[in-house]
């Protein structure tokens, strides 16, 4: 009772003392001189407007936020730079054999795990052997199954995969059955996990190691001090980091609400955060009054309207082309995205090395007259005066358009599309779904006329699972990533060709040709790639985010003291 009373009194005293301590949260201690002479903060707070489930093992993490943080904790063999090239990271150098079937990586000799153990080739081998294991619960096996012996191990016929050979403590060699280009990006960017920690745990149980996740042992620039679910992750610099001690002592990931980003900056409780969804007004406030700079770069996602090619009416290329001509996509980017994005004509990211060659593409800019003419050519016109075109057999151009409820932009774009279609005599009824629910419809049930979703790219520009006929499925309930059931022999050939070589120029040519065929065929209405944007305080050094990786050089970041 006495204790309770004291507690109550203490609280009361605290409340009285509140008025004057509004800004108590600011980090004021520990000013150090930066390279440029100005004082730099000893803590960088990076905001994330999403939850972080805290699965800190790069093999079993599924959520993007977890994966981003895993990249800080667990370095991969190579890393990708702000120009999209690979550069040495945990591997200080590597060689690829003439026939592209052998890769040898030489690890950093002074690399150490956060607990002081040395990082060796054994750890790298262990990481991939775990993925091959038949009881592995993560999603990455298919990507690396071209390594020799991976299949034997996966099916339980071998103890170890033949294709992974430890040459010495710091050298490891991968051998492949066949050249499968997308495997390269996956192997070199896969976070390496320590065998001495995870080796004693059955692979099937990796995903249930809540205790280990909270105190992850990696060899990256920062180590996790404290993970508080739903709040923040506090990290401290790893003094023994193999590229030298990180420039800022502490790195904090803070979960924020997108609605209060301005207030967070005003209070100095945040340094770096994605501001992709902020309006122009808010961005102006940030840059003009809060001393914050904003960097824009293309996202790794394109937005599109899918057309169900399984349906007979959509076999008509004139109709598909007319639908594209009917929409003023430049206008959508200009007014709805406020200019922060670009239109696309083919399924490749404009920011990647495989970007479509514009001279080979069929560009269909806004032209409603041409759209009407094309419809007429196919026999569609408004015969009964209800504003909807139909053909002689009475087939009306009236469809359902399923859209996700993920953002206001989606809704606005859908309304513009509906209106544009109406002008050429095509009627669409909008139906809104939860994003995941719509994705399930598209993947499993194949039940739609039109729908809008994102197409998100990994590092490798491979489009096989979306555009190869072998990925298409027409039977309801059978999953497929080729949602629209696009089948084209030439495209199949070009995709296979691109995946069978590691030579980037050769791959690029094949992809450019595939892009040309796809854009000519008009199987999909490509909309736009929206920009991603990050805010950071003026005078920040080293921060250079790129389409595929924001945190890659976090050990170089410094933020100035205010």
């Amino acid at each position: 009772m006495k204790r309770k009373l004291i507690g109550i009194l203490l609280c009361a005293a605290m409340v009285c003392g509140l008025a004057g301590c509004g800004k108590s949260g600011e980090t004021k201690e520990g000013e150090t001189a930066g390279e440029s002479g100005a004082a730099k903060k000893d803590t960088i707070v990076c905001g994330i407007a999403d939850n972080v489930p805290g699965i800190f093992n790069p093999l079993v993490a599924t959520k993007t936020t977890d994966q981003d943080i895993n990249k800080i904790i667990y370095p991969s063999l190579l890393e990708i730079t702000d120009t999209g090239d690979f550069q040495p990271y945990l591997a200080e150098s590597y060689e690829v054999s003439e026939d592209n079937l052998k890769m040898t990586f030489h690890l950093q000799k002074e690399a150490k795990w956060h607990d002081g153990e040395p990082v060796t080739a054994e750890d790298v081998a262990f990481t991939f052997e775990s993925i091959f294991d038949g009881s592995f619960t993560g999603t990455s096996y298919e990507k690396v199954s071209s390594i020799t012996g991976a299949k034997d191990k996966h099916e339980g016929n071998a103890e170890k995969a033949e294709g992974i050979k430890i040459i010495d403590e710091h050298t490891i060699e991968f051998t492949f059955d066949q050249v499968y280009a997308p495997a390269f990006a996956d192997i070199v960017t896969r976070g390496i996990i320590p065998e001495h920690i995870w080796g004693s745990i059955p692979v099937a149980e990796f995903e249930n190691q809540a205790e280990l996740f909270k105190k992850p042992v990696g060899c990256g620039p920062y180590k996790v001090d404290e993970y508080v679910e739903g709040q923040h992750i506090n990290m401290t610099a790893n003094e023994d980091f193999f590229l030298g001690r990180p420039k800022t002592e502490k790195f904090v990931i803070k979960i924020v609400s997108p609605d209060s980003i301005l207030a967070e900056y005003q209070n100095g409780t945040i340094d770096i955060v994605s501001v992709r969804d902020l309006t122009s007004d808010d961005l102006t406030t940030l840059t003009d009054t809060l001393g914050v700079e904003v960097v824009n770069f293309p996202n790794n996602v394109y937005r599109y309207i899918g057309i169900n090619m399984r349906k007979e009416v959509f076999q008509d290329k004139n109709l598909r082309e007319a639908l594209i001509y009917a929409i003023n996509r430049e206008q959508i980017v200009e007014s709805i995205l406020e200019g922060k994005g670009v239109t696309v004509e083919a399924p490749f990211l404009p920011a990647g090395w495989a970007k479509a060659d514009e001279s080979k593409l069929t560009v269909r800019s806004y032209d409603p007259e041409k759209a009407k003419a094309l419809l007429k050519e196919s026999g569609y016109e408004d015969r009964d005066g209800d504003g909807i075109a139909e053909n002689a057999d009475g087939v009306k151009l009236s469809f359902t358009y399923k859209i996700p409820s993920d953002s206001q932009i989606t809704e606005q774009v859908a309304l513009v599309v509906q209106q544009s279609f109406k002008e050429i005599g095509v009627n669409v009824e909008l139906k809104t779904f939860e994003y995941q629910a719509l994705a399930t419809e598209a993947i499993f049930n194949h039940d739609f006329d039109f729908y809008t979703l994102n197409c998100q790219f990994g590092l490798d520009p491979d489009i096989k699972s979306w555009w190869h006929s072998s990925s298409a499925q027409d039977e309801p309930g059978v999953p497929s990533w080729n949602f629209d059931s696009f089948k084209n022999e030439e495209v199949d050939k070009l995709i296979d060709q691109a995946n069978a070589t590691l030579d980037q120029d050769e791959r690029k040519t094949a992809y450019n040709d595939a892009a040309a065929v796809i854009s000519e065929e008009a199987p999909m209405i490509f909309l736009y790639v929206q920009d991603n944007a990050y805010a950071y305080p003026e005078g920040t050094e080293g921060f250079s985010p790129y389409t595929f990786n924001v945190f890659y050089n976090v050990y170089n970041w410094t933020v100035p003291q205010k």
Binding site: V15, G54, K63, E207, V228, G230, V252, S260, T269, P479
Partner: protein
């Protein structure tokens, strides 16, 4: 009395079972699939099928329900698909924060509502009554997230007085008093908004039931006898409103918990509401089920508590009379 209590508990259990069936069916009938968000396009689609099968999501619904009920009765709510942690552990961890937020707001708003409700009823049609009634009307009508964002804008952005989100300063390593102080500063905005909204709605009920009482003959009688205002209001008046007030408070507590969902989301308060919000977005079925059933238990439990407290507070309620008769 014991018979009454047992009967009420029995009814509560039946209600909980029905509620759990409804929740289970509603959640599982929703389109979508928890694994779709977890895989990328270069994953073999059969992977999703395999995982669903492993976790028993393809079994018939009644079978799944019986299994789920069996585990739940053993207080095992399963594992979160996202966090890979026991759902019960997640809920308890978050519940502390929600209780800190909602509990504080509940205590504050109870006092404010009782004081304002009784006083406005006593001084009916005075300027004070009109102003308070108007304010409470506005606060009840305006959506919580709007008033919350407005408060953030004024107190946090324009004036820079209070932190806009979180429960402690991220990156800080405060301990002891410093930590308590830090938490209190972070509590001001979310607790404030919950308190205002809750006291606005509770106050209206209290005002209504007290107004009734003030027009009763025994009140006029007491007043005519020259009883002091304080004694008149609180002893003669308010006591008679107890049953209504207890029921109201017991009912308001769960609504405070659910009302905290919005507040927790806006202020990034790591409580149970935000946990449920995130779980719904990523279709983490075990967590949604766990949180919803947990809420149902609290609501039914508070109902039960209200009935019992009313019986204790008001001797006129029949159970007591019967018992008195038998003695």
């Amino acid at each position: 009395m014991w018979k009454y209590l047992l009967k009420r508990i029995g009814i509560s259990v039946v209600i909980l079972v029905i509620v759990s069936i409804v929740i289970f069916v509603l959640i599982r009938m929703q389109p979508g699939n928890p694994f779709v968000g977890m895989v990328s396009a270069d994953t073999d689609p059969d992977y999703i099928e395999k995982r669903m099968e492993e976790l028993g999501y393809n079994a018939p619904l009644p079978e799944q329900y019986v299994k789920w009920l069996g585990r739940t009765l053993k207080l095992d709510l399963g594992y979160s698909l996202q966090y890979k942690l026991p759902v019960a552990e997640l809920i308890l961890g978050r519940m502390k924060n929600t209780l800190l937020l909602s509990g504080t707001a509940f205590v504050l708003s109870s006092f404010i509502a009782a004081a304002a409700g009784v006083y406005t009823a006593y001084k009916r049609k005075s300027i004070f009554d009109h102003v308070i009634t108007l304010i409470s009307f506005v606060m009840v009508s305006v959506p919580t997230f709007f008033s919350a964002l407005l408060l953030i804008k004024i107190l946090s952005f324009d004036l820079g007085l209070l932190p806009p989100s979180g429960i402690v300063t991220s990156g800080s390593s405060y301990v002891g008093l410093e930590r308590i102080k830090d938490t209190l500063v972070h509590m001001v905005l979310p607790v404030g908004i919950l308190t205002i909204v809750q006291s606005a709605s509770m106050m209206r009920y209290i005002r209504a039931s007290m107004s009734d009482i003030f027009t009763q003959d025994y009140m006029r009688m007491a007043k005519a006898k020259g009883m002091k205002a304080g004694r008149l209001i609180w002893v003669h008046g308010f006591r008679n409103a107890w049953t209504a007030v207890i029921t109201l408070f017991a009912m308001q507590f769960p609504s405070l918990l659910s009302g905290a969902v919005l507040t927790e989301t806006v202020f990034v308060w790591p409580g149970i509401g935000r946990l449920n919000y995130d779980a719904i977005l990523s279709q983490d079925y075990p967590v949604i089920m766990g949180v919803t059933i947990f809420m149902a238990v609290i609501i039914v439990g508070m109902n039960l508590l209200a009935d019992v407290l009313c019986a204790v507070a008001n001797p006129r309620i029949s159970v007591f009379r019967k018992e008195a008769g038998t003695v």
